[in-house]
Amino acid sequence: MSKAIKKNTIQLKFDSARVYEPAIESKSAAKIKPVYDLFINGKFEKPLSKKYFNTINPASEEILSSVAMAGKADVNKAVLAARNAYERTWKKMPAAERAKYIYRIARMIQEKAREFAIIETLDGGKPIRESRDFDVPTAANHFFYYAGWADKLEYAFPNRKAMPLGVAGQIIPWNFPLLMAAWKIAPALATGNTVVLKPAETTPLTALKLAEIIQEADLPPGVVNIITGAGDTGANIVNHADINKIAFTGSTAVGKIIQRAIAGTNKKATLELGGKAANIIFDDAPLDQAVEGIINGIFFNQGHVCCAGSRLYVQESVYEQVIQKLKDRMETLIVGNPMDKNTDVGAINSREQLATIQRYIKLGNQEGAEMYQSACALPKKGFFCKPTIFTNVAQSNRIAQEEIFGPVLAIQSFRTDDEVIEKANNTAFGLSAGIWTDKGSKIFNLTSKMRAGVVWANTYNKFDPTSPFGGYKESGYGREGGLHGLFPYVKLV
């Protein structure tokens, strides 16, 4: 005997023409110089290498600026400036004064927030909504948070005195360029270290804009040096004999190379590496919220997120329902011009990354998984990828094991708690996890059994300056954010 299911929710009609008028952010509110030099010892200096490279807008493939390529001699110069600033100025400065400089940087980022957001979106391809509402304010807040720690360190480490390490070499990725610069620089400065920072090759502009602010803030020359370049520049920083600390965010493959490179030294390291997070949906979860969490987990920042919820596990009893809701929700995503304030999914960061993602999509199909992509139209120019999900995925499939770093989700089902704990932990990574259920005791069972550094329960992809972030296992070591983010930059005596 069949019984009609009572429909008490409003059905969204996706076939009707619900078109948003474009709301394009203005490029003119940001100033990008045609050429950027290296920021060393408080000044912008021409590279000794005499080389420059172009940085482009991945949404249009237009050249935005030409940036200096730091060679070995430039790295040496930057490290020397940082060493001198450390010995002569920064480590001797009263901590409260150090704090005030960092506060200044925070305030100036806030003042120029709109400009930062525009440049971030132009250079990296992320939706302006995310740059404006997430990247830039969180970066400013990070400086603000750590500024306050500078003169309070004796409260952070009971029974110990915290001493700075010296010169920190910091290498950051292209997915959250300004925010990662903030995550690296703010705790280093607060604890009395000086910095040589290298932004990623494809997204150097907001870090260089930050260099301008640092100059404007009158930070003593050499305390922060920002040098641009590619992998070789990073290698020269890692291998430099006068660096005491390496902080790296990026791929696990490069993280391993770095650990090997510094194996024979006393350099300390913080490595924040790749991930393949499980996002687990139980049948008692609030499903509509969970679907929002899945969307946010994998499509936030085009999936260029190390902690992206790229493996979805749905309990069998609600599997069909969740997949249908997910597909429906995917159809409402606006994919396209990152400068449009309505855009949900922007441009893939680079041609190379787009090729990587496409290779994995092909692989997923070859491995026998079933693909679904949203029916959106993609812009003709630039690097774009449709939001993509795979069902019928096996645990051993490469799309379920390897980090894709794009808007591609691998979906599996499960029956029991124990089964999903096994599956979720069956990975070399351990950065993050997501759990969706209405039952408190189940949340704590799951959160305590996930071998991962950050666990989101009934939410996903949330970040805060006060909240420690970092991985277990091959997702790296060390924490960034919060009180625990101070540890990697101090020596306790």
Partner: protein, 298 residues
């Protein structure tokens, strides 16, 4: 002539400790532990890679149970280990003097070990409170960070003591909920194995501590390479060995904990930071419902 004076003494066989049992090395190999005068003290297992692999299996199997025990219970077990050691003090003093210590030094070493176990017993249910945080995030979320054990730790005991270095390393590692495979001192291996007997009678679940004897140079690469080991600990100021360890540890991003500047006999060698060296930090987020106008304003 009394009967007892003609009685033949029973010599102790020094076997290793894996998964709560005392097997011989599977390799069938041995080496002779002797004192500084060259007097042979015992035939000791020269452990192989296979012994280490078996130990990792035992340690991994024990990890889920040990790490999820109540911290209070772990504290009680560490206390029990101290009690057992206190009861067998004389035996350890005798064994240490065989290994070239003066009687006074031997007594001091055993007593330091007992006190160190008591010290860490007390930390088992306290370090979490010192090193955890409730993080005041700006959004409407409850957010907290807590230490969690790294997992399976492969450690080389400090080589210049027979007992104190070993105990000083085992205690903070298991106090924090890890399981461990530890290689005793090559030169002075006897007390490591006798200590296993103490552990065995202390309610410590099998596999939580596994004790091997053998050569550091032979086993160290395997410690560093094993893909199911989460962390390695090393205490010698040997740059080449440290480099090898850090280099191979990169295979699965093992945490490498170097403790080469410790004075094990002093109080500086014990602290909750030693526990924290073998902990990860886990951060958990959950939304806080924020609907309606109800405020806790009473």
């Amino acid at each position: 002539m009394s009967i007892s004076s003609s009685r033949l003494e029973i010599l102790k066989t020094y076997k290793v400790y894996i998964g709560g049992q005392f097997p011989r090395t599977e390799s069938g190999r041995y080496y002779i532990a002797s004192n500084k005068k060259g007097v042979a003290l015992a035939n000791v297992c020269l452990c192989s890679r296979k012994d280490f692999k078996d130990s990792v299996v035992a340690a991994r199997n024990a990890f889920a149970g040990w790490s999820s025990r109540a911290a209070f219970n772990r504290g009680q077990i560490l206390y029990r280990i101290a009690e057992m050691l206190e009861g067998r003090k004389a035996q350890f003093v005798e064994e240490l003097t065989k290994q070239d210590l003066t009687k006074a030094a031997a007594i001091a070493e055993v007593e330091s070990c007992i006190d160190r176990l008591i010290y860490y017993s007390g930390w088992c249910d306290k370090f979490q409170q010192i090193f955890s945080a409730v993080n005041p995030v700006a959004s409407s979320h409850f957010n907290f960070s807590v230490p969690e054990p790294m997992g399976v730790v492969a450690a080389v005991a400090p080589q210049n003591t027979s007992l104190l270095g070993l105990v000083s390393l085992i205690a903070p590692i298991i106090a924090g909920g890890n399981t461990i495979i530890i290689l005793g001192s090559t030169q002075m291996p006897l007390s490591a194995i006798t200590f296993a007997e103490v552990l065995h009678s202390s309610d410590l679940p099998g596999g939580v501590v596994n004790i091997l004897t053998g050569k550091v140079s032979e086993l160290l690469p395997y410690f560093a390479e094993h893909m199911d080991v989460n962390a390695v600990a090393f205490c010698e100021p040997d740059n080449a060995a440290q480099q090898l360890l850090k280099d191979k540890a990169a295979m699965n991003m093992k945490r490498v904990i170097i403790k080469d500047d410790m004075k094990w006999s002093t109080a500086t060698a014990q602290s909750p930071y030693m526990i924290m060296d073998f902990q990860e930090i886990k951060t958990t987020w959950h939304p806080i419902e924020n609907i309606g106008g109800a405020k806790a304003g009473y």
